[in-house]
């Protein structure tokens, strides 16, 4: 694992300007992702997990607005291996289109609503590929492969000579491929789509490309969406509650797939979830969010072994566990605050057992209290 960062969200502020008031959805979120890592973002409803994901892709729509902060994206050039630094928060729309679905892609929660129901699965994946990739080489390789197939079946010598001539003509073009026509581009993109579906372990991918989303089950649809997001070999894949709508046995299949894919293609993954179990199964780094702020950030083993923020600790023990028997669940009192009028200082203080007057007045900053363990709390739980 390298220490090289691929994404660094710095002091991000997102507000939603509604009739009832300004919803301070993100209040100085800090987050960083190392290359090759799987990072979990956990928190309860309304804590800003999805808003953070959408801001990274600049998908925040009115009445929401990205008001302050930086989203630094360190992209690696595919060939030269040079690192390019971009601030996604300041990019123009056209530049952002180059990144969305290409360098950073997202898989959403509900597989029933996301694939367009009126287009075939294969066409939808092919569209992403056609839009973002230069298919000239692929078209040539496809043509050569096709000719080689006919060559093996060809009977007369005259035919053979002609086909071989064509093959060598195309081979020469490989150094400087010409702009392919639309039809062969589509064909090559579709072949790539089949390849992608095979990568996500879709059974019978040759048939699935010609099927419509409603013909697939929920788990299969989620696989197809993952295939679509991975089609351009992105640097970052964001899974926004990607397994929440699935049944446990199917969820286990998808989580296993994500773990295998990470090893195979080396994409960095952000897993957004409210389930600590999913984090334990897939992630090696965790970011805990509460009411629009990052409260804790550390390695997965650390957070389960010794959480330092009172909220994280409360969250961990409040879940009934399958392998433990408890008579009563320890609970966090109160409810998640309204973000139009959030509590002053630390946003968790009204529900915190350790809160003192300083918590009401001063917002705690995210600090590295122990090596590799960041916490935003005035009174962290030290052992």
């Amino acid at each position: 694992m390298s220490d090289e960062l691929v994404l660094h969200v710095k002091d991000l502020y997102v507000n939603f300007y509604t009739y009832e008031g300004i919803v301070k959805a993100l209040d100085g979120v800090e987050m960083f992702l190392r290359r090759g890592d799987t990072m979990g973002v956990v928190g309860e409803t309304g804590c800003g997990k999805s808003v953070t994901a959408k801001s990274i892709l600049r998908l925040i729509e009115a009445p929401g607005r990205l008001d302050d902060g930086q989203i630094l994206f360190f992209d690696q050039d595919f060939e030269t291996k040079e690192t390019i630094e971009l601030d996604l928060a300041k990019l123009e729309l056209e530049e952002m289109l180059e990144i969305r679905g290409n360098r950073i892609s997202i898989v959403f929660q509900d597989p029933a609503t996301y694939p367009n129901p009126v287009f075939r699965i294969g066409d939808q994946i092919a569209e992403v590929i056609e839009l973002h990739q230069n298919l000239a080489m692929d078209v040539l390789y496809m043509k050569i492969a096709k000719l080689e197939l006919t060559l093996s079946e060809a009977t007369s010598d005259e035919n053979r000579a002609e086909i071989e001539g064509k093959i060598s003509y195309y081979r020469q073009q490989l150094d400087d491929p010409p702009e392919p026509d639309k039809k062969s581009m589509r064909e090559a993109a579709k072949l790539k789509a089949i390849e992608m579906l095979r990568l996500v372990r879709m059974p019978a991918p040759e048939q699935v490309v010609n099927q419509y989303p409603h013909e697939l089950s929920g788990g299969m649809r989620q696989r197809a969406l993952i295939a679509m997001s991975l089609a351009c070999n992105p640097s970052i894949l964001i899974c926004d509650e990607a397994t929440t709508a699935l049944d446990v046995t199917v969820q286990a299949q998808v989580l296993l797939l994500l773990n295998q894919l990470k090893a195979e293609i080396g994409t960095s993954i952000i897993v957004i979830t409210h389930d600590m179990g999913v984090v334990a199964e897939t992630c090696n780094w965790v970011n805990v969010m509460y009411a629009g702020t990052t409260v804790e950030s550390c390695a997965t083993e650390e957070i389960f072994a010794k959480p330092l923020h009172p909220y994280t600790a409360g969250l961990l023990i409040a879940v009934p566990k399958l392998h433990e028997v408890k008579d009563r669940l320890p609970q966090i009192r109160g409810t998640v605050p309204n973000l139009i009028t959030p509590p002053t200082g630390c946003r968790f203080h009204p529900r915190c057992d350790y809160a003192t007057s300083v918590c009401k007045e001063k917002k705690p900053l995210l600090e590295e209290l122990e090596p590799g363990h960041w916490v935003a709390c005035h009174h962290p739980l030290r052992s």
């Binding site: 446990v248 046995t249 969820q251 299949q253 989580l255 296993l256 399958l322 392998h323 009563r328 998640v336």
Partner: protein, 342 residues
């Protein structure tokens, strides 16, 4: 007085599927297909299963909110399958339900006082000032105050709304409450509060619960005994801790598929190949055989009965107790998963 509160005998609920111009019946969805169930007084029976396995339909059919296709339902040893009119209403006094989505089950234009008080008024228990006092004491039981009486559902948070629904279910002082996924739309910190509240109320009012959920950990936490459903049938019913002792291969796979919030336990999932088959044409024989690695010929031909393997542990599997879920089986599961994706 017998100690059983609810008993069902071969309970079935099939939904007709219509098609064509004349809406002809072209098939049946076997939502609940022959369920024998017993719930003791003061006990909580947990029902788990994946979506579409018929757990919600089972709960509603027991309450007679849906008419059973066949079979019998006994409440306190009284056959309530055929009851109508006033007699049915009298039985319903004692059985209530809390639904999954509290926002959808509260009328947005009725105040909390009237929502909770409605069962009292309708059944002629109390009205006016007396009703208000009763509602207030119910609200206090679930942790809300007098200030909330005249508010509307939209003014509450999800957890509070679910408390209101629980208060309404308890208004008539029932003996039996079906909890249909009561916490699946709430957050973890609120879920813990709701679960604790339900346990406290059960002790205070001597309630019997049927707790339906797809979340195994929550069901296990709440229940005295647990029934696992698969495609309309109960495949295993056990008074034990299923995390430690499950005899049906489906239960075993289901339990191991739950992500455990502890890195020590992670990565030990047994992955089932494929997905739950359609309940319109369930597989013949054992319904689980197409996904089961232990399946043999007999599983395709004969439906295994739910039999007692000792200590009230019921399993519907031909080979219950003979199967080894050790390392070799996990390897085999991994292989079968590999085959299906190749």
């Amino acid at each position: 007085m017998s100690e059983l509160l609810i008993r069902t005998e071969d309970l079935k609920k099939h939904f007709p599927l219509t098609g064509g111009v004349f809406r002809k019946v072209i098939g049946k969805v076997h939502a609940v297909d022959g369920v024998n169930l017993e719930i003791k007084k003061g006990e909580t029976l947990g029902v788990v299963g994946e979506s579409g396995c018929g757990k919600t339909t089972l709960g509603r059919t027991i309450l007679r909110l849906m008419e059973p296709t066949s079979g019998k339902i006994y409440f306190d040893e009284e056959d309530i399958t055929e009851l109508k009119g006033r007699a049915l209403r009298k039985v319903r006094f004692n059985m209530q339900i809390v639904f999954q989505d509290p926002m959808a089950s509260l009328d947005p234009r009725v105040t909390i006082k009237n929502s909770i008080g409605e069962p009292l008024v309708v059944n002629g228990v109390a009205k006016g000032r007396k009703m208000r006092d009763m509602v207030l004491s119910l609200l206090e039981k679930v942790g809300l105050t007098e200030a909330h009486l005249n508010r509307f559902p939209h003014e509450f948070s999800g957890g509070q709304r679910q408390r209101i629904c629980i208060a309404r279910a308890l208004a008539l002082n029932p003996k039996f409450v079906v909890m249909d996924e009561p916490t699946s739309s709430t957050d973890v910190s609120v879920q813990a509060q709701t679960l604790n509240l339900m346990k406290d109320l059960q002790e205070e009012f001597d309630l019997t619960y049927m707790f339906i959920s797809h979340n195994l950990s929550v069901v296990k936490h709440m229940s005295d005994s647990l029934a696992v459903m698969y495609l309309g049938k109960i495949v295993e019913k056990t008074p034990y801790d299923i995390f430690r002792k499950s005899l049906h291969p489906y239960t075993f796979a289901l339990v191991s598929a739950v992500p455990i919030p502890d890195p020590e336990f992670s990565g030990r999932a047994v992955i089932l190949a494929g997905e739950v088959p359609s309940p319109i044409n369930p597989p013949p024989g054992c319904r689980f055989y197409p996904r089961c690695i232990f399946a043999q010929n007999v599983c395709k031909m004969e439906e295994p009965p739910l039999r007692d393997v000792g200590g009230g542990h019921l399993v519907a599997c031909h080979f219950a107790g003979e199967l080894d879920f050790g390392a070799s089986a996990q390897q085999e599961y991994a292989d079968s998963f590999g085959d299906s994706i190749a």
